[in-house]
């Protein structure tokens, strides 16, 4: 998948993954895609909820060795 920015938020706990994601979104344009890496298991629900609140779209997510990856398109 095309990614315009990668954010490594591994090791950070709530609420920092969404806080850092917001910052990263501020740095890209509408329609561009942020790839987020987090180890916070709460993120599985939190990132989609945050994205809906902030009008972004989660395009895909995967889990790999305890790392959750999300591809989020800026709305």
């Amino acid at each position: 998948m095309n990614t315009d920015k990668v954010l490594d938020a591994k090791g950070l706990s709530c609420p920092m993954p969404v806080v850092r994601s917001k910052k990263a979104m501020d740095e890209i344009k509408t329609g561009q895609v942020l790839e987020l890496h987090t180890t916070d298991s709460g993120a599985l629900n939190d990132i989609p909820a945050w994205a809906r609140s902030a009008n972004h779209q989660v395009l895909d997510h995967q889990e790999e060795n305890g790392v959750y990856k999300f591809w989020i398109q800026k709305g």
């Binding site: 090791g11 609420p15 969404v18 806080v19 939190d46 902030a54």
Partner: protein
């Protein structure tokens, strides 16, 4: 139009601080306008000295280790994050008068206000929370 989240912080312990600032920063991250009204013991949460060492409820001291292990940001860091995301911090004037506290004793950019200041913000808030 962005949502508004109005929070009252009226308790001064470490757990109270996390409840307040986690919700506030998460809301700000979702592009909500956030204001927190700090009243009574809640003023500890933005007091330059007090907020560096907020009390843990007695009998729960062992959670201190859990905070470290889970890599939880400190309250000092969370206040910085909140301010960076334009969360309004409003200190209750009346409590300051009662406790003889001065504006200089609080973190930078705290607003001083009364009940009416907070209510003006809260009256059309989408979410209102009290901690």
């Amino acid at each position: 139009m962005s949502k508004k989240v109005a929070i009252i912080a009226s308790n001064g312990g470490l757990f109270d601080a996390y409840k307040v600032f986690n919700i506030a920063t998460a809301a700000a991250a979702a592009d909500s306008k956030v204001a927190i009204f700090f009243t009574f013991e809640g003023l500890n949460l933005i007091h330059k000295q007090a907020y560096q060492q907020l009390p843990i409820p007695s009998g729960k001291e062992h959670f201190q280790e859990g905070f470290k292990q889970a890599n939880i940001p400190s309250i000092v860091e969370l206040v910085e994050v909140a301010q960076d995301m334009n969360v309004r911090l409003i200190a209750c004037q009346m409590t300051m008068d009662v406790m003889n506290l001065q504006k200089e004793e609080f973190v930078e950019n705290v607003e001083i206000g009364g009940a009416a200041t907070f209510l003006h913000f809260a009256q059309d808030a989408d979410v209102t929370l009290t901690f």
